[in-house]
């Protein structure tokens, strides 16, 4: 009603507009100031672009459709950012507020400087006045929330810096003076359309109550230039601050690695690479370097890092930021061409050991769980960089923790990482044989439907032999024509690759690919998500193309097809621990849950961190071969999370998770009882229904 009345009083809405640069003379000074502003801005951006371009090539502009979708999801809709509710909310408000205000300024530019009269009529009223005003107000709300978080809540993951304080103050001043200018203009010009700008009209009314029109005009003039200087100042300064992410974040999200999380490690050209692994900034790809400049210091990576959670030194955020600072100080363009491959490699901008976050100790704490990569709202890939640095330590420096050396040595000598195991690869099958159950080996079966890949963890660790036996019995019960490789099986190379011995990984992989080819294997089922991931995401590049299924997917399929029947539902309360290499690295979170829901009576209990946001058992990335300090054990932390539920059993789908969690639970459970079972064991209990195998 009020608006309608205002319309009538002012005349036809089609004529609505406002005078640009009202009250401002010498507008040329603004244009003159714009030149140095843009020069400083441009220099800042160009300086960084030049640094990224010094990185090595990588293809990140293919599949534009998928990339645009990613930008829509994570830039426009801010899906990843919004996962942290409070921070996500204010960022969303600031993001859309600032974009709207920029569009509004562009409208003024088109209207006034290009002489295209767009800023008028209903567009002026609905968009330029009402909508922009509201969004500006929401941006102010965003700034207020930001201030509350930075100065009052102060979450541990945020590191207070002068720069972030400065940026926050500048944003507040720009938005605040913007509203003052709008209000004073409305008041001083008695703008008939002023009511379409709600915040502006409130400021106008308030100002008129304490000052006269002449005073407001003077204040407007002064504040207009002040506002302009602050805005130009911020634009010029932005590329030298973390505000650069306004440009780098969308670019980084667009150029993200689109492969499954578990397939993002780089390959090495062993004939030509100047170094095996990376210990100098210019050895990274341009995307790695762009990653460094896309970081907004939000700290989400570090807050989800299992190693950091238990008090270890590793901090993915600090690792990225320290490299960013190193990049700032380094003139990458000064590096001459690649060194002769036969010379001892001398890093031009050494990374490893340059700071605490980049120390070898920190690098050897990573479980390669990729929680950091998953949590990053701007698609930074921390994990591949950690592996690049590890590779250098392993292959160029030959310096890494002794227990990992033992695992690598065992892989070299024996094709498995379990130095000192008392078991052979077929002991689990021979034990079944003594119970009258035969596990067929590849030579015994004509054209098997699937190859059952036991994996080193499933065959050589006593605890997991039970899971592997359950799986073999299930396959047999379902009438699946399957076979095992037996002694011909050798490690997929996953631990070698995660530890950083890419050379050994390739050797082992090629050996397996050859074995598969010789035996004409087309489908592989495995209970080890590490083997699964390596087969699925890493073998195709080496020529190993075959179908691979995690046993939970395969068992769900068998039950779905009616080839397996649940005879007795499990009666215990169960929670499921998502293995990182199944859930986060490969997005498989539903088949195991489906299986558990079908085979258990009680509804599945979820831990606080589950699915793609699950918390690592501590055993990935070679870390199951490392002795952790007694008070810094990742498996115990996960065990506590499991014990916090009222489940009686933790179901797992990974031999490494099984042993890590069992050890962890035994260490911290106190009087509470909690079993750890592989899903295959639970399903076998349900399928065999208490009846003995046979």
């Amino acid at each position: 009603m009020i608006l309608a009345a205002a319309n009538n009083a002012a005349g036809n809405a089609a004529d609505a507009t406002r005078q640009v640069l009202w009250n401002i003379s010498h507008a040329w000074v603004m244009y003159a100031l714009l030149v140095p502003t843009m020069l400083i801005f441009g220099r800042g951006v160009y300086r960084q672009v030049k640094k990224w371009r010094a990185g090595r090539p990588v293809q990140r502009f293919d599949r534009p459709g998928e990339r645009i979708k990613r930008v829509v999801r994570h830039v426009l809709l801010q899906q990843a950012t919004l996962r942290d509710r409070f921070a996500g909310a204010y960022h969303f408000l600031l993001f859309w507020g600032m974009i709207t205000l920029t569009i509004a300024t562009t409208v003024v530019l088109i209207h006034h400087d290009l002489g295209l009269p767009v800023m008028q009529g209903r567009f002026y009223l609905y968009f330029q006045s009402l909508f922009v005003d509201c969004l500006g107000l929401l941006a102010m709300v965003g700034v207020a929330m930001l201030a509350v978080r930075r100065w009052i809540v102060r979450p541990k993951k945020l590191v207070p810096t002068r720069e972030s304080t400065g940026l926050l103050v500048l944003l507040f001043v720009i938005l605040g003076t913007g509203f003052l200018l709008e209000g004073w203009r409305i008041a001083a010009t008695n703008d008939p359309w002023g009511r379409w700008s709600p915040v502006g009209s409130i400021v106008a009314a308030g100002s008129l109550a304490v000052a006269n029109v002449e005073t407001l005009k003077s204040a407007h003039l002064f504040t207009w230039w002040f506002h302009l200087l602050i805005v130009f100042g911020l634009i010029a300064w932005a590329p030298y601050t973390k505000l650069l992410h306004v440009l780098t974040a969308p670019l980084n999200i667009y150029t993200a690695n689109l492969d499954a999380g578990g397939g993002t490690l780089k390959t090495i050209d062993f004939d030509n690479a100047p170094s095996f692994g990376i210990n100098s900034l210019e050895q990274f790809t341009w995307k790695d370097l762009l990653d460094l400049d896309a970081c907004t210091e939000c700290g989400r990576c570090t807050s989800v890092c299992p190693a950091n959670t238990v008090g270890k030194q590793l901090s993915p955020r600090d690792l990225i930021l320290d490299m960013q600072h190193l990049l700032d100080r380094s003139d990458l363009a000064s590096v001459s061409g690649p060194a002769d491959a036969d010379d001892d490699y001398e890093p031009a901008f050494p990374v490893i050991g340059s700071t605490a976050a980049l120390s070898p100790e920190a690098l050897w704490q990573c479980t390669s769980c990729a929680a950091c990569v998953e949590a990053c709202p701007v698609s930074i890939e921390q994990l591949p960089k950690i592996i690049d640095l590890r590779r250098f330590e392993v292959m160029e420096n030959a310096k890494f923790p002794q227990t990992l050396q033992d695992a690598v040595g065992s892989l070299e000598e024996r094709g498995h990482p379990f130095k000192g195991t008392q078991f052979s690869r077929v002991d689990w099958a021979q034990a079944l044989h003594t119970q009258g159950f035969d596990v067929p080996t590849i030579g015994d079966v004509q054209d098997p439907e699937v190859l059952l890949w036991a994996g080193c963890g499933g065959a050589l660790v006593e605890r997991n032999q039970k899971s592997t036996q359950a799986l073999a019995q299930l396959l047999s019960k379902a009438g699946v024509k399957y076979a095992i490789l037996g002694r011909e099986e050798t490690c997929t190379g996953d631990p070698a690759r995660r530890i950083g011995n890419e050379f050994l990984f390739e050797t082992l992989a090629q050996q397996n690919i050859e074995t598969f080819r010789t035996n004409n294997i087309r489908t592989v089922v495995t209970s080890c998500p590490h083997c699964f991931n390596t087969f699925r995401n890493e073998y195709p590049r080496l020529g190993g193309e075959f179908e691979v299924m995690h046993h939970t997917t395969f068992l769900a399929k068998l039950i779905g097809e009616g080839r397996l029947t649940i005879n007795a539902e499990a009666t215990e309360k169960i929670t499921f621990h998502d293995p990182c290499y199944l859930g986060r690295h490969n997005g498989i979170t539903e088949p195991p849950r489906e299986l558990l829901q079908r085979s258990a009576r009680a509804p599945l209990i979820e831990m606080a961190q589950h699915g793609q946001q699950s918390f690592c058992c501590g055993g990935g990335g070679g870390m199951s071969f490392v002795d952790e300090a007694p008070d810094q054990r990742v498996n115990q932390e996960r065990a506590r999370q499991a014990l916090a539920t009222d489940a009686e059993t933790v179901a797992v789908g990974c031999p490494f998770c099984t042993t890590m969690l069992e050890d962890g639970i035994n260490a911290v459970k106190g009087d509470r009882e909690m079993a750890v079972k592989d899903i295959a064991e639970i399903i076998w209990e349900s399928v065999s229904g208490g009846v003995d195998s046979g």
Binding site: A398, E413, T421, S424
Partner: protein, 270 residues
Amino acid sequence: MQILVCLKQILDPEVPPRDFQIDRGRRAAIQGSANLVTNIFCENALETALQLRERSEGEISALSIGPASAEDVLRKAIALKVDHACLVEQEVAGSGSHSAITARLLAAAIRKLGTFDLILLGREAGDWGAGQTGGLLAEELGLPFVGFVDHIEAADGGVVLRRQTDTGWEKVRAELPLVATITNSEENVPRIPKTRDIMKSHRKPLTTWKPSDLGLSEEDVSSAADALEVVDLYIPEKTGECEFIQGESIEEKANAFAARIAAVVQRAGV
């Protein structure tokens, strides 16, 4: 200082117990699915040599006697940057069980290779565990011998060797040349080669001789062969019996238990 390190390739001592097989007739272990590896104490010896070369000038030569597969242990030594490597290719009688023949062949090869200040061997091999070759080699070469050494320091033209004993360490000052066997310690944990050096190791020269190249007469070898004979080789059988002690009271059970232990001990002749 010219250092020579003897390296032996053996069956992986970590082969799972159930996989370990022997040929009782040939009195030899069967390789089966087991891998061939460098004997760990030989690796400790090589590490000791590498550290010694880092601290004082010198060259390292690596020498192995064994089948063609033993080239692997020498390639690995080359990857660790030994200066020279030599393989005496021989299907060793009794799969390397005959320390006296091995020592005689090693001595002949060493004489042919040149003169060395320090000759290092592992204290024993992980296959037969005889621990004889070092001492026999010193005898063959007519050199002094120090066993169970875990640290060597060059000093005044000679060396100071630290050797492990049942009660602690002994430090021995010795003139060169000499033969020493090396045992493991925290300091001589074998290093691992750099990947690039592994790749390059296959392009480096390797001297390969047959035993006939060593200038030994048949009599030389047979006289060494006579010094030692493996009479039998078998895997000890582990058996277990379970017996429940009967008795009314706890005292009665305890007495019966003690009596039973005494009987078993007596039967075993302890």
